[in-house]
């Protein structure tokens, strides 16, 4: 089933004189988790910034089309939690409201903290939390925004294996049916979370094959190793070409 197209980006992207993406096309479907896979330095994060309308360290020639009436389009989850150290956990979750001078919805923040399995830490400062807890607060902050599209820039790469696995499961549960664009260099998390998987190779975005029952539930799934091998091989090829 093809979902409604929410966002499309096409054009070329270069930094100084180096072409990162040439004549590429990216289509984002509503309610799908799209992952852009690629090695470091191929322009994954730059592409994400471009989509978000942020300043990029290069030039883009092309079009970005967005089909949404929602005034809150993007939320962002980065590799680092980016929690403000002087604000309590609840206030960090409500950061968007603070910045927009809106009334703080503490009840909603509490509910989201509970959803990310963090309770009784509302008044604590981020410094008192573990890396995994901090990233869960960042997830709650992202969900608090209720935006049309969630942008994730390698959000789990700084976590240890167990914490990473827990937060990936939580994210999959809480971001179900939401439109997510994630960039990563980790093929395992790409296979476990994505409805659509794209690879940056040879300055183009190429769609990678995924099983019909996607996203995959776990690495124990019987066809996981088959798709993992395929993805790894494509990544290796992309690396050689570059």
């Amino acid at each position: 089933m093809i979902n409604r197209q929410l966002l499309s980006v096409d054009g070329s992207l270069k930094i100084k004189n180096k072409k990162l993406l040439d004549d590429f096309s990216l289509i984002i479907e509503k309610g799908r988790w799209t992952t852009i896979l690629g090695q470091s330095g191929v322009g994954k994060s730059t592409l994400l910034k471009l989509i978000a309308g942020l300043e990029i360290p290069g030039q883009f020639r092309g079009n970005i089309k967005l089909d949404s009436a929602n005034h809150k389009i993007f939320s962002w989850m980065a590799q680092n939690d980016l929690l403000l150290p002087w604000l309590s956990v609840t206030k960090n979750v409500c950061l968007g409201q603070i910045l927009r001078n809106e009334k703080l919805d503490h009840k909603k923040a509490e509910k989201l903290l509970k959803a990310v399995e963090l309770e009784n830490i509302s008044i604590q400062l981020p410094d008192t939390l573990s890396v995994g807890m901090r990233q869960r607060v960042a997830l709650a902050r992202t969900l608090m925004e209720e935006t049309e599209i969630v942008l994730m820039d390698e959000p789990f790469s700084s976590l240890d294996y167990i914490t990473k696995s827990n937060i990936q499961n939580l994210s999959r549960k809480l971001l179900k049916n939401k439109t997510v664009i994630m960039v990563t260099h980790d093929p395992t998390e790409a296979l476990l979370l994505s409805d659509n998987l794209l690879l940056i190779e040879n300055q183009k975005l190429t769609k990678l094959e995924l099983p019909n029952s996607r996203p995959m539930r776990s690495i124990k799934q019987k066809d996981f190793s088959e798709y993992y091998e395929k993805t790894i091989n494509r990544l290796k090829q992309a690396y050689i070409v570059s």
């Binding site: 942020l54 680092n80 980016l82 942008l151």
Partner: protein, 250 residues
């Protein structure tokens, strides 16, 4: 309580060293008076010291507040405008390149013997550490935090006041503490160059009449005030940066 005990211990050690130097070197009182003589002088001249100290303290506090406000405003101006950086940064450096002793007579000539020449001197002395520390703090924000706040819909004003300035507070607090230690220097230099009141004036007056014990008394009163001012500023900045463990290393 422990802090008070430590403070009293330091003072007692200082007095002991002072007394030991005086006793061992057998220096005459008109060159180095002993602690006892200075303490007696402080009691004998308490009104003279108090009335002159009030003027100097007033100059320091007004100069500190105005200099801090000017430094904070400049720091913000520098971060929000590229043109301001080009125009103001060389000027800020210039305020430090000219020796303060060279400026003092000019300021006295322009502003007279009243408090304002001393207030301006104090402002000039503290302007640089406050401006530069604040500006450096404002610059050091993680660009990803700026991206995040922009995506969340922060305005320039809310981004500045709710994110950038709080991030800069630990560095600003270092600048303010430095300023608190330097501020009395500005006022006293101003008084040395041209005044008829204040602790600086009293030091010169006592020196001219070989009342070295009185001169030492004035220095001690100024030092005590500087320590108090520094601690008040430290207390306030510590409250503002409670969240930053690096600002509270023991």
């Amino acid at each position: 309580m422990i802090k008070l005990f430590k403070f009293i211990t330091y003072i007692l050690i200082f007095i002991l060293i002072w007394w030991a130097i005086k006793f061992l070197s057998n220096t005459p009182d008109f060159i180095l008076p002993g602690p006892k003589l200075v303490i007696i002088s402080m009691f004998d001249n308490y009104y003279l010291l108090f009335s002159n100290a009030l003027i100097t303290f007033y100059e320091i506090i007004v100069g500190f507040i105005l200099g801090a406000l000017l430094g904070l405003t400049t720091g913000i101006q520098l971060i929000i405008s590229k043109n301001s950086r080009k125009l103001l940064l060389p000027f800020i450096l210039l305020t430090q390149a000219i020796p303060i002793f060279a400026l003092a007579p000019i300021l006295t000539l322009w502003l007279g013997y009243g408090i304002w020449s001393k207030v301006i001197m104090t402002m000039i002395i503290i302007y640089f550490p406050i401006t530069i520390s604040f500006y450096e703090g404002l610059k050091r924000i993680d660009p990803m935090v700026v991206n995040l706040t922009n995506i969340m819909g922060a305005t320039k004003l809310s981004g500045l006041f709710k994110v950038r300035i709080p991030f800069a507070l630990p560095q600003l607090s270092s600048g303010l503490k430095l300023a608190a230690a330097f501020a009395p220097m500005g006022a006293v230099i101003g008084e040395w160059v041209g005044s008829s009141k204040g602790l600086g004036y009293l030091m010169l007056y006592a020196s001219g009449r070989v009342q070295i014990d009185l001169m030492f008394s004035a220095i001690i009163v100024l030092a005590i005030f500087t320590v108090i001012l520094y601690n008040i500023v430290s207390f306030i900045t510590n409250q503002l940066t409670k969240w930053d463990p690096k600002s509270h290393l023991n």
